[in-house]
């Protein structure tokens, strides 16, 4: 187990260092997030629908599409000089490779979500600061499952044509339920509803995380070796 995690950390650290050096994907994702939020801000009529009613959906749609940018780049960087073949030739466990990619993607998406959350609060004038800790918890819970499935699919579509198009086509159907639960929990949180009202959604998100992190870890070796 220690070896598995050590190897995963080696992969994650390398991915994050590469991202830190190039900063291409994080900049693209951050600009994309800002643009989506600005477009939504201009495209809504606050007198027709109260902000608090629509804001959680906007937040999660934004996070979902920004996450796609991160997921697309996760394995793409392994295609340069066919580094992926080097990884597969090495004795590193495929489970470690998956967990390392997952960890790097989570850090990357967390950075983008931090920027997005701040812009969301400012642009939509949503009072998030009094529930910030709980909101970060909900975001983390929903993001883990989303990125777990997305990391698996980004490896699956890597060598296909139009990989960037294939990823959302495959991934979005798997995200409908967790997105719904995430929006429900976020709405309840922002409306200062009691914890019991969001408990159901949180439990479902946690179950989704456990099931899909486990499944994706187990399935990854057969997918990456195809």
């Amino acid at each position: 187990m220690a070896e598995l995690l050590r190897q995963a950390w080696t992969i994650a650290r390398k991915d994050l260092l590469l991202e830190f050096r190039s900063r291409t994907a994080i900049m693209s994702a951050a600009v994309f997030t800002a643009l989506v939020l600005v477009v939504f801000n201009f495209g809504r009529d606050p007198t027709a629908v109260p902000t608090l009613t629509i804001a959680p959906s906007i937040l999660w749609v934004t996070f979902t599409f920004a996450g796609m940018v991160a997921l697309n780049r996760a394995f793409e960087l392994e295609l340069e000089n066919l580094a992926l073949d080097g990884l597969l030739l090495s004795p590193i466990s495929r489970h470690s490779l998956y967990l390392g990619k997952l960890a790097a993607n989570l850090v990357f998406v967390a950075a983008v979500e931090t920027i997005g959350l701040f812009l969301f609060a400012v642009l939509f004038d949503v009072p998030i600061w009094h529930v910030l800790g709980a909101l970060v918890g909900v975001i983390a819970l929903a993001t883990l499952g989303f990125i777990a499935v997305g990391t698996l699919f980004s490896a699956m579509v890597l060598r296909t044509r139009f990989a960037e198009l294939m990823l959302p086509v495959l991934l979005l159907p798997f995200l409908m339920l967790p997105l719904r639960w995430a929006v429900q929990a976020t709405s309840a949180l922002l409306a200062a509803r009691p914890l019991s009202e969001m408990m159901g959604s949180l439990k479902l998100l946690a179950a989704y995380d456990i099931v899909f992190v486990t499944l994706a870890t187990l399935l990854f070796p057969s997918i990456v070796e195809e």
Partner: protein, 228 residues
């Protein structure tokens, strides 16, 4: 050290036989040069030996498994935005080279390959010839017993290919089992102790190189491929 028994593998439908009953054995200190035209099955053979492709029948075995294999191909497997030293340390870590040995090994390889003054330079800034030197260092950083070379001279000019051959010979001679796959007889023959001609997935000739020169081997290759 390295053995293959009845390896067979095909692709597509109708099936194209990339490998069709390949058997051989190779010990440390020997270099088998596998010559064959494009599509003969050279890369498939190396990938099967490396465990990247599972053969449909037959068995390939490398003593020590993946940890014992080094690979050099026309792709460097390097990360362009990492420096030369960072790349070597990363691969050394993946191959579980003990932490205190990683730095000294990387430094030693860089020194022997003339890369010491490039250690802090990103791979993206290096010429193709220098990248290929880093690829050698990457493949040797875990001190593999078996080295698999897939068209390693591709993209190198004559001078760089010559230099590359010299470095490979210096770093592998007598210490490893090497399988070199190339379509270019002249480029590969100098390193070889054994020679095989691969055509349509089959070895049409396997023999020690002996005293034959590049021209004689190139002739034998042309005859074997034409007759295969």
């Amino acid at each position: 050290m390295l053995s293959a028994e009845g390896l067979a593998h095909s692709f597509g439908s109708p099936p194209v036989h990339a490998l069709d009953g390949i058997s051989f054995r190779l010990d440390v200190g020997h270099t088998l040069a596998v010559f064959g035209p494009n599509g003969a099955g050279k890369t498939t053979l190396l990938k099967v030996l490396a465990g990247l492709i599972r053969p449909q029948s037959g068995r390939a075995q490398v003593e020590g498994g993946r940890r014992a294999i080094g690979w050099i191909g026309h792709h460097s497997h390097l990360y362009s935005h990492l420096t030369v030293r960072e790349n070597l340390l990363f691969w050394a870590t993946l191959y579980s080279v003990p932490t205190p040995e990683r730095g000294p090994r990387a430094d030693d390889l860089m020194r022997r390959l003339g890369l010491s003054d490039r250690a802090a330079q990103p791979v993206a800034d290096l010429s193709r010839g220098l990248v290929q030197r880093v690829a050698i260092a990457r493949a040797l950083v875990h001190e593999p017993q078996v080295l698999l070379l897939d068209e390693p001279f591709a993209g190198l000019d004559l001078a760089a290919a010559g230099e590359f051959r010299r470095l490979l010979a210096e770093l592998t001679h007598g210490r490893r089992a090497v399988v070199l796959a190339t379509h270019n007889v002249e480029e590969g023959v100098e390193l070889a102790t054994e020679i095989a001609f691969l055509h349509r997935g089959r070895f049409v000739e396997v023999a020690p190189r002996g005293t034959r020169g590049p021209a004689q081997i190139a002739d034998a290759y042309r005859r074997a491929v034409a007759g295969g």
